[in-house]
Symmetry: C2
Subunit: 373 residues, 2 copies
Amino acid sequence: MANLAPTREGDVTLEGAFRLENGAELRSPTIHYAVYGELNPRCDNAVLVCHALSGSARVPDWWPQLFPGVLDTARYCVIGANVIGSCYGSTGPLSPDPATGEPYGGGFPLVSIRDMVRAQALVLDRLGVPRLHSVIGGSIGGMQALQWAVDYPDRVERAIAIGAAPLSAMGLALSHVQRQAIRLDPAWRAGRYGPDDPPVAGLALARAIAMCSYKSAELFRRRFARRPDRSGEDPCCSLAERFDIAGYLDHQGEKFIARFDANSYLVLSKAMDTFDLARGYDSESDALRRIRARVLLIGISSDWLFPPQEVRELAHRIRTAGAPCEYTELKSSHGHDGFLADADLLAPFLTAAIWRPTVSAVPRPHLAPAASL
Amino acid sequence: MANLAPTREGDVTLEGAFRLENGAELRSPTIHYAVYGELNPRCDNAVLVCHALSGSARVPDWWPQLFPGVLDTARYCVIGANVIGSCYGSTGPLSPDPATGEPYGGGFPLVSIRDMVRAQALVLDRLGVPRLHSVIGGSIGGMQALQWAVDYPDRVERAIAIGAAPLSAMGLALSHVQRQAIRLDPAWRAGRYGPDDPPVAGLALARAIAMCSYKSAELFRRRFARRPDRSGEDPCCSLAERFDIAGYLDHQGEKFIARFDANSYLVLSKAMDTFDLARGYDSESDALRRIRARVLLIGISSDWLFPPQEVRELAHRIRTAGAPCEYTELKSSHGHDGFLADADLLAPFLTAAIWRPTVSAVPRPHLAPAASL
């Protein structure tokens, strides 16, 4: 269903100064959105789907396996909104800064997950969507789903986050070296590159490093082992010749530079790093106590960027704070990328979580994986 | 004992053409060596210690914890030899190419672990060392120890390799992105940089990426967590400000560029990738069948670059081939770096392995960790 066309698609301008968590302001940013299906008269069928780092408002483009089985547009009004800082239609580093008329470029401020979610809430106001039947996302999209549950407890009935938790030190490390790769590219020019000379080599390397963290050692071993590059290179012959895994990483980098902006990458990667539900509240448990949505956290068995253990621990903290939260685990060898690559396996979990009622206000005990969902 | 002075230190020139595995030739390369202690009259107390990627012939400089407890120079003649391709005294990319008088630079050929070991064997011939009581190494040094046992079965009585096995696809991936970081630096100039303008930013980033693979997520979590950089930066404030782990990685990179050459890094990193005991023989088991040394493989519990499971599997393959090989595991949270950072904990394993007799030709069953060694 990748070709599912939006019922509505457009831009919402948030007039005036949009103040970010770090104190910077964006003047009248626009948010690109796409809607699939119709809001029902009771306004209780809206499902917001939050995209990951390189996704867009067009949910079926990147999560096609969920249509129509999980996200049945005859039943739900599925909404996607491109995050601030991205390069898929919302205001980001490629957009003109109203103060200068030139693109923000490297001058684009650091945004937070909370900023992204607040912008989405304002967009939903404008679209006449008072509350969300569900908010769903994986990775940085899952962070947004959780932030929604904390910041807008009265507007969210179900929050489902896959492969999302505050990044551990290793995750922060891997993010940092990716951003350093972009900065190392002489074409980056502190973010002031023109449209004809972007830092593609740095961005490609950032993506290659990221792919190592998105996939799993097991998958790489099975798929590439120690085979030489499939184009016929002999890695034992010269420095330049590659193993197959290296050819794969380079190819992933080359594909990525055609569809993403380096400054956007810096902004969104750092936003992911800074995700911390405690910020703006007295403590994480104070934040978690606000949640009234029914929360489902899904860890991915082979995810080493957001290890399932850390997702499970977050679920435990949410329950300890008194909010209803379940944890389950997706068995996938694709690592963090499992929520996209194995979306078929993910679908039954999501269907069960979206379709079930939300009446239970009492925290439920930790459920065993899979079968009970 | 870091200040232990060598009994002898010098260079051996391997006169004539030294033909490498990939077919290239080096003209009269020199190998820098250092000896601690004296060869006894029976010539049966020589211990060759093979250094890792950024080490040198001066073993006590980088493995001080092993002196004098494990490597007692009153008892053993401890020998270190800098590998071909390095920048610590042996012929490498910084050395003048006799054909031009200019440094080899990016024109230095790809060397293999087998090339390194053959050069060491020739050096030992010149030093009058007919056989090795033991050969020991960690990481790429462990690869050399194993290659010694395969290529020179009559010269090696004990081979001890820590955190060494053929790199898995994930390891090859992480090596590749490090090398790409060097190549991304505009100062790299395809390896033809001058001494005053080396690609320090690329080399620093390569080292930062490598540090992620050398250490463990657990260690990073305990040591850095999600704390802001200790110098007072606020990572939530701007793109440039860092978490503490990022400051640590940058610092490791900065320290490294003062002591290592980027072209050497490319050569040695790729040599590590290509380590494969099967090469030059009909199969890996044919190679392993040659071993007559008593072999000890040590995995490091938190090593994710050379996961202990893969070291254990290699030990199993060696035993299956009929060679005596034991496996044990070092409990360390330092990841791959544990063989250096936790050398105190490693020492008892090494002492037991070095001191024990070698009479057993019959493969012994897998030993439980620690106590039995």
